[in-house]
Amino acid sequence: MQILVIEDDSEMRDYLITGLSQAGHEVVGCADGGEGLALALEGRFEVLVLDRMLPTLDGLAILRELRSQGHTVPVLMLSALGDVDHRVEGLRDGADDYLAKPFSLVELKARVDALARRQARPVETLVLQVGDLSLDLISHRARRAEQDIELWPVEYRLLEYLMRNAGQVVTRGMLLENVWNLSFDPQTNVVEVHMSRLRGKVDKEFENKLIHTVRGEGYVIRAP
């Protein structure tokens, strides 16, 4: 995947480029806002990683310019100012995701992957399928091996998010943001508790486990 990283801090830029390259992406780095915008407008990148604070042209301005010219390339905004308001501002101005520094490479990679997938998603399906597990997006019914699974609303949302990102790691932060719509980390084992409940319902009685914990990274659901 071709990724453009616009970040003025050279150490941070190297960290991003190295990290994303290791994950098999083709990464172009750029330190200047104006230059970055010109590169982004070429349209060959699939994901943009954009720092909020940049010399000559700041991240929000680049974002607005891109969107006003009709570019829908997914943008992951980075910022040292990790509070709610900046997050809200970034998302409102057309960012697809927002990540506050400092963050882990795992988190970054997972989010970049999620953005790329979202962009590449085919026509909206009505049923999500992973192995023998299916989730009906209309009736909110989950079935595995011809058995109905009773889900609480929050469990349904959790499973839906996992299945929409099947085969890809989703991090704790992504789950908190997307399942609970939280902008802060509650510093408690909310995700773990819900995940173990969900596993109890989805995996417990089956030989083949679908939901896996990726140590230090997050969770993934995939067909055996």
Binding site: P153, W180, P186, Q187, N189, R197, G216
Partner: protein, 465 residues
């Protein structure tokens, strides 16, 4: 004294106040002295003038009676006066209409004193023998009278004692002005010295406070004047600053203490990792997790200080507190169940509209529930209540844990506060500080009690659209 110092003295408002006061008093008193002096001199001259007028009138009255057979008044006067002049004790001079001096016993140019009124005081110039008699005057006040035939009579009477008085008055006037000046300067100095002392008193303390002695306060003079009020205001300000400094110190001490421990632990782990011959992913993950905890504490600290600055109000909107409670339950219902803590809900069915930032309230509520869950032993109970009336919306969280000793209750909102016996539990010790900051930002009240487990209630104003 250097120029800069002079400049400073000149700029000092004390000096200016002194000069201004002095100038005002001096001008007032000087005017009084001058007016008084003028009036006294006038009076002296006027008395003498009246006497001269009477004498001249008397002489001319004779002429008026015999007028008709004499050639002219000047000639008549000449004859009369030339007979008298040798023994006359008054000054007299006669000029004809053509300006020729007919006779006189004083030198018109020998003026002893010009009066401001236009009169002149001349030296009496009678014959030598006249002067030897001793009872004739030294000087006279002279007045001019035009005569009917165009001549002019100058007549004057002795003015010695008056002149002496006038000269004495003149001297008195100078002394008066000088004394008034000194008095004015003294008053001005006394007035401004008090101001100066007051300012100095405040200045000295401010200087010392600025140089580090923050405990120092200005002692009030007890006069209850403006300076005392200013002193009180400054003392109050210093108290506030001291309070803030104490807060900052507590926070930085707490940061130093609470973040040093995990950092030390982190360092130890890294050293151990270095010793290991093979890569140990589990240990590396543990190190990363430790770093994340430290970062989380920093984030929480930043968040609290952002909230305390009160600059976060742009996200404020009207919302229903029930939605926030629902979202919190969405997060925590299972967590409590997982910890074998029963959750009791006493929630109102009515809407609870409030105005504020719902995300912040969600975080505050999560922290409260999390806190309650953490200190409630398994098998215990957490009760969540939400209610409202016309004025207020209130929610409370009560647990069946051990509560907080009353002596420590005021400390729970401090950053990094954790009871000693709970030091081993995970958590940043910032949860309740954040709750407190959110309450302050929303002008909400927070109360806590042991019932006997900890009961925390938050009350905020109901929003009326």
């Amino acid at each position: 004294m250097s120029f800069a110092r002079l400049e400073r003295v000149w700029r000092s408002s004390t000096l200016r106040l002194t000069l201004l006061t002095t100038a005002l008093i001096w001008f007032t008193c000087a005017t009084l002295v001058l007016v008084l002096h003028h009036l006294l001199v006038e009076a002296l001259v006027e008395y003498a003038e009246q006497d001269i007028d009477a004498l001249v009138d008397e002489r001319l009255a004779t002429w008026n009676q015999i007028r008709g057979w004499e050639p002219s008044v000047s000639d008549w006067l000449y004859r009369k006066l030339s007979a008298e002049i040798a023994v006359l004790n008054d000054c007299v001079a006669l000029r004809y209409a053509d300006g020729e001096r007919a006779l006189g016993n004083f030198n018109e140019d020998d003026v002893a004193l010009w009066m401001s009124s236009g009169h002149q005081v001349v030296k009496f110039g009678g014959g030598a023998w006249q002067r030897e008699r001793g009872d004739n005057p030294e000087v006279c006040l002279v007045k001019d009278y035009p005569l009917a035939d165009g001549g002019r009579l100058s007549y004057g009477i002795g003015f010695d004692s008056e002149l002496a008085n006038i000269l004495r008055l003149r001297q008195l006037r100078y002394w008066g002005l000088l004394i008034v000046g000194i008095v004015a300067l003294s008053i001005g100095w006394v007035v401004s010295y008090r101001a100066y002392k007051g300012i100095q008193r405040i200045n000295r303390v401010c200087d010392q406070v600025a140089s580090g002695n923050l405990a120092l306060r200005i002692a009030p003079s007890g006069r209850d004047d403006d300076f005392d009020h200013l002193s009180l205001a400054i003392n109050h300000m210093l108290d506030q600053i001291a309070q803030l400094m104490l807060g900052v110190k507590q926070v930085s001490d707490a940061i130093a203490h609470d973040l040093k421990t995990p950092l030390a632990r982190l360092r130890g782990r890294l050293e151990l990792l270095l010793e290991q011959p093979e890569r140990d992913d589990a240990s590396i993950h543990a190190v990363i997790a430790e770093t994340d905890r430290i970062l989380a504490a920093f984030n929480a600290l930043l968040r609290i200080s952002q909230l305390e600055q009160g600059s976060q109000r742009q996200a404020f909107k009207a919302f229903d507190m029930r939605d926030v409670v629902d979202r919190a339950l969405d997060l925590y219902a299972l967590v409590l169940e997982d910890r074998a803590v029963a959750l009791v809900l006493e929630l109102t069915g009515e809407a609870c509209p409030v105005y504020g930032d719902p995300e912040l309230w969600l975080q505050a509520l999560c922290n409260l529930i999390d806190n309650a869950a953490k200190y409630t032993p398994g098998g215990g109970r957490v009760t969540l209540r939400l209610g409202c009336d016309d004025e207020q919306v209130r929610f409370s969280i009560e647990d069946s844990g051990p509560g907080i000793p009353p002596a420590e209750q005021h400390k729970v909102f401090e950053r990094f506060y954790r009871m000693e016996r709970h030091r081993s539990l995970t958590g940043t010790g910032l949860g309740l500080s954040l709750v407190s900051a959110v309450c302050k930002l929303h002008h909400a009240e927070i109360a806590l009690e042991n019932r006997p487990g900890l009961w925390v209630e938050v009350r905020l104003r109901r929003h009326h659209a």
